[in-house]
């Protein structure tokens, strides 16, 4: 069974490039602060266009 207590605890304020904890969002712990940027996607335009 997986332990519910982390074996190694990290202070979020000492991580680099991660969202700060405190926003109440679980994903903030592991998501990069900034996502990738892509241009020129070729999705077909929405019908109203």
């Amino acid at each position: 069974m997986k332990s519910t207590t982390k074996q190694i605890k990290l202070d979020k304020t000492k991580l680099f490039g991660f969202n700060q904890a405190g926003s109440g969002k679980a994903q903030a712990k592991t998501r990069p602060m900034i996502g990738s940027k892509a241009v020129g996607s070729k999705l077909p335009p929405p019908p109203e266009d």
Binding site: I8, K14, P32, S36
Partner: protein, 341 residues
């Protein structure tokens, strides 16, 4: 995260730290700051492991000492990210593997090195590049190694683009060389009904940009592609200091460059990099080094970039909650666009 840091970075002491004009020196300072953030956090993490993870502390410390002195592989940021995730999920075996792998990552000493995306299905590096570039896409799409023909064609365009910039915009060429260590050539799907990409970059791949080698927009298009993706990396470098915008990532707005609605941070990026693309093209035109169809394309692209910037800055002005740094950087872009009109 270092966004709450009160330390003053070296570029902040210059008269115009958030100026719009390219600066290789500022990029070198940003690079030192990025590496310093990475190194400090890695040392902290290693201190927390308290003997629970198998790795060579001597080898890692030697790597960190080298990283303080010069460029690190863009993959180092990915690996760091994965290390944090591994520890957050108690996967100590994965953490151990990553800490052992990190010191073996080699950094190009003189950027940019152009590489073909290693096969993501067969190599750790290829899988890592593809995974980190994909983080922002709501719909999954293919990131594949380029064909030899597409790669050769794209490499020629990159060479020609740098030759143009060296002749007409040496400041931008120098900034890109300082900022971009790796240009990764990849390919997307050729199915017109599916989503693909022209270029991409990611915070956790700082120092690398990815270009779709199937694009065929010539050297004028490639100058803009390089200006565009390197400007994303520039903004990522500033972001180590704090956010550009304070809007919620859940709020979506129309983007000047993408068909899918984007968070304000994405709109901000798109607007800023469009101004950088405009500047890159204008510099070449003003230098008098373009003629014939190249000049014709440059003029057309210049007008399109101006149109897209106007579209983007309108959304930013109406909905953007910019941080002081975001405000200062965008003011530089807006002032440039106003002066170039």
């Amino acid at each position: 995260m270092n966004s709450g840091s009160t330390k003053t970075a070296p570029w902040q002491t210059s008269p115009n730290p958030y100026g719009f004009e390219p600066s290789a020196e500022r990029v070198r300072q940003l690079s030192r700051r990025m590496r310093s953030g990475l190194i400090d956090s890695l040392r902290y993490i290693v201190g927390q492991t308290n003997g629970q993870i198998e790795f060579s502390p001597e080898k890692l410390e030697q790597y960190l000492a080298q990283a303080a002195q010069g460029p690190v592989s863009p993959q180092a940021f990915c690996l760091y990210h994965d290390l944090v995730v591994a520890l957050e999920t108690d996967d100590l075996a994965a953490a151990s593997k990553l800490l052992n792998e990190l010191p073996d990552l080699q950094a190009p000493q003189n950027g940019p090195v152009v590489i073909d995306l290693p096969n993501p299905q067969k190599t750790t590096a290829g899988q890592r590049y593809a995974r980190f570039i994909e983080t922002d896409f709501s719909a999954g799409f293919a990131i594949l190694p380029p064909s030899p023909k597409a790669s050769a064609n794209c490499r020629a365009q990159i060479r020609d683009a740098f030759a143009l910039m060296d002749a007409g915009d040496p400041e931008l060429a120098a900034e890109i060389r300082a900022l971009v260590l790796e240009i990764i050539l990849a390919a997307g799907t050729e199915d017109p009904k599916k989503m693909t990409f022209d270029g991409a970059s990611a915070f956790m791949l700082w120092g690398a940009i990815m270009i779709n080698a199937n694009r065929n927009d010539g050297e004028i298009g490639m100058v803009q592609m390089l200006a565009h993706e390197s400007a994303h990396d520039l903004l990522f470098g500033f972001c180590a200091d704090g956010p550009l915008v304070e809007n919620s990532p859940e709020e979506l707005f129309p983007s000047p460059l993408r068909v899918d609605p984007r968070p304000m941070e994405g709109i901000y990026h798109a607007t800023f990099v469009t101004a950088r693309m405009h500047r890159a093209v204008k510099k070449l035109i003003d230098a008098g080094i373009l003629a014939g169809k190249s000049l014709e394309k440059a003029r057309k692209d210049l007008a399109e970039n101006a149109r897209l910037f106007a579209k983007g800055i309108d959304v930013v002005h109406r909905h953007g909650k910019l941080s002081p740094m975001g405000e200062a950087l965008m003011r530089g872009a807006s002032d440039y666009m106003a002066s170039a009109a």
